[in-house]
Amino acid sequence: MSRWDVRCSAASLSIRHPGNGIAHPMTTYKIFAPLNLEGVEARLREGFRFQAERARKVERRFFDSFDWRLYGAGMVMEEERVGRSRRLALRELESGHPICATQPGELPRFAWDLDMQDPMRAELAHVLDMRALLPVVKVVSHTRGLRMLDDEDKTVLRFALEQSVASSTDGKREASQGDWLCLMPVRGYDVPFEKVSRFIETELGLPRVAEDRMVRAVQALGQVPGGYSSKLSYSLDPRQRADAAMKGVHLGLLETLEANVPGTIADLDSEFLHDLRVAVRRTRSALSQVKGVLDPETVEYFNQGFAWVQQITGATRDIDVYLLAFDHYKESLPEAVREDLEPLRSFLRHHHGMEQKRLARGLRSARFRGLMREWRSFLEEGVPLEPTGPNAATAIVEVADQRIWKMYRRVRKEGRAIGPDSESEALHELRKSCKKLRYLIEFFRSLFSDEQTAQLIKALKQLLDNLGAYQDYQVQAETLERFAEQMVAERKTSTRTLLAMGMLVGDLLKRQDQARKEFWHRFARFDEPTNRQLYRQLLAHEAHGRHAP
């Protein structure tokens, strides 16, 4: 189960299932010609007793992270403005049930911008993690409210007759959404709600609308909610020519890369840059690992181009890693010295600002834009009739089999060669191979059975997590030492801070040691017979063609 899956299931656990006494959430009906808002109101008044409320203009903005984490977790976040009042509400996507609401002074960009006590903070933090909330779509509605009263003048049902226009957050696109009738039941008053909804459905013949207001608005603008994901999802035709298939894979990676450029330049949150870098790494891996498919000179040219992108984005990401983990680092220290670490945070922020500027310049440069343009036009032009590499015209499934099998064997060989005295370099090399293997499996997933690849990725991920931790701890310890030297040179530190950082380094090295101890166990699990069997089954052709493991 990936990290994302864990999030989804945890969120769905918290969904509250309504009992009998809970009001249904809002029910919406679409009004069609020849009926209109006035006609519907007149018909309703014939049958029921209402009190009219003043007409209002309601502005709603919907928020989510760039990768739609709230939507993915089955939630919608809405900012509602009526006159001067503003309210932020989180609700369930499917049922419309409210989860929590708040009236913050300022709109939060991150979960941690909200008050510690605000229940929304925890709800958001759980799903969004470090991602920023960004506006998704705006809806302006002109609403007339009606209230149905009982003989005590108690409201037993609310209505809203609505005319809405959806617009994109930059205001460049607009779409009229027509007329709606919304029914908002009052909890514990089921009978009037059922009576009226029956009347609307049978007498007026209006259809119920199932989708959430946010989904309707996004769709009205011709977009797809949940449209962006950094996860790879291709559906390749196994018999397709390898060069054409690989161009498709690269095009998908390029889409992800380009989608993250504006957010990276604007520094909206750390994950734009992260996703951008992952797309670049995957691109380079595909270029160099799937050999003999594209023209070697072209491959070399673009590989260098992407190496440059990796290089100009590296420094900012390095600092991001520290800033994201900072609170965690701080908590790992004894309480008495925790505050001593704070100058490191200011140091990191200061340097982050500088590196970010440099990075933004790089991504705005003619060189970067040229690279993107050339790469896209290369990918979009058809494949040459005369193949440019020995594997170019081979069916992609064969190339995939061969590449995965080869990389799998390499991982096994490198892993088995690691002993208690091996240098850390050997583990780093193994990690690189594991990553390559993982990317290959992910690119070609659609060519194999979903269940099998899921198992392979899971086993591989457990090993990769261990190797990643091992290397990260080491790199982090080394970088901290470098930061310490830099801070001394810049006269931005005190002895106490250096001592606290030293403790942190010690802690990181201890954890690295721990990861190394676990490595054997993890690798043994990866190399166990059932997993080997799985690779052999999946890549039967390759496995039986050559020497079996």
Partner: protein
């Protein structure tokens, strides 16, 4: 979820007005709020225009055959729900006495609602009984309106004695002065001399005001029909002060 009980052994001190107005302010601040009208007189239900049930299932609920959830009614205000009173509550003591673990009944009924509400405010009947023991068991704090009279202050002493004597010493007791008439010398003197050691007394006081009586005419919280009145403001400060305690 926080459970507040608006409680006093003595009647007619402004318990219901406290429960109704605090709940209204909590809901207004975006908190999901529930009032449970435990007083068979049903004043809170009346203020919210919700008809109390003569046979509303409270008996089955106390026997554990029905959930509290089923009895919740939405008020005219967003985020604010109410469990109306039930004529059966006049016999609640007897019914509780027959239940298993009689002191935990109320808390057990409230627990399933803990995810749904940020605040639950209990409007309690006066007197000390098995019902009040249930309330002490369930509540995170007792908010005790107190008219600055000798008799009223005496009941506060009775309450704290009872709490200590029955093992409820841990509940914060938050008395505050209610229906205060600053023109009365006795009110002023008692307010200055109240022994508050060991109590989490609130500093805000609620002035005596005809607007509170008019709640029965408008059938709404004061903030709804007289939002700028001194008493509406006083409830706002009381709510702010109370919220700051959690």
């Amino acid at each position: 979820m926080r459970i507040l009980a608006s409680y006093n052994i003595k009647g007619g001190v402004g318990k219901t007005a406290t429960a109704v107005n605090l709940a209204y302010l909590a809901a207004n601040a975006g908190m999901r709020t529930l009032v449970w009208d435990l007083d068979p007189q049903g004043a809170a239900s009346f203020y919210f225009r919700i008809k109390p049930k003569v046979k509303g299932g409270a008996s089955k609920m106390l026997q554990g055959k029905r959930e509290l959830n089923d009895l919740v009614k939405g008020t005219d205000f967003e985020n604010l729900d109410l469990v109306p009173t039930d004529f059966f509550y006049r016999n609640m003591d007897l019914a509780l006495g027959e239940a298993k673990k009689p002191v935990q009944r109320l808390l057990k009924l409230l627990r399933p609602l803990s995810n749904e509400y940020d605040w639950i405010i209990l409007d309690c009947p006066p007197s000390i009984s098995l019902v009040s023991e249930n309330i002490f068991r369930a509540a995170d704090a007792l908010v005790v309106p107190l008219i600055p009279t000798t008799l009223s202050v005496r009941t506060l002493q009775q309450l704290t004695d009872f709490l200590v004597g029955h093992g409820f010493y841990y509940i914060p007791v938050m008395p505050f002065f209610s229906m205060v008439d600053r023109r009365k010398r006795m009110h002023r003197e008692i307010m200055e001399g109240l022994p508050v050691s060991g109590l989490s007394a609130l500093n805000t006081f609620i002035p005596y005001a005809s607007d509170v009586e008019r709640m029965g005419i408008y059938r709404a919280p004061v903030g709804e029909f007289a939002p700028r009145s001194p008493v509406a403001r006083a409830y706002e400060s009381l709510w702010e002060e109370l919220r700051g305690r959690f």
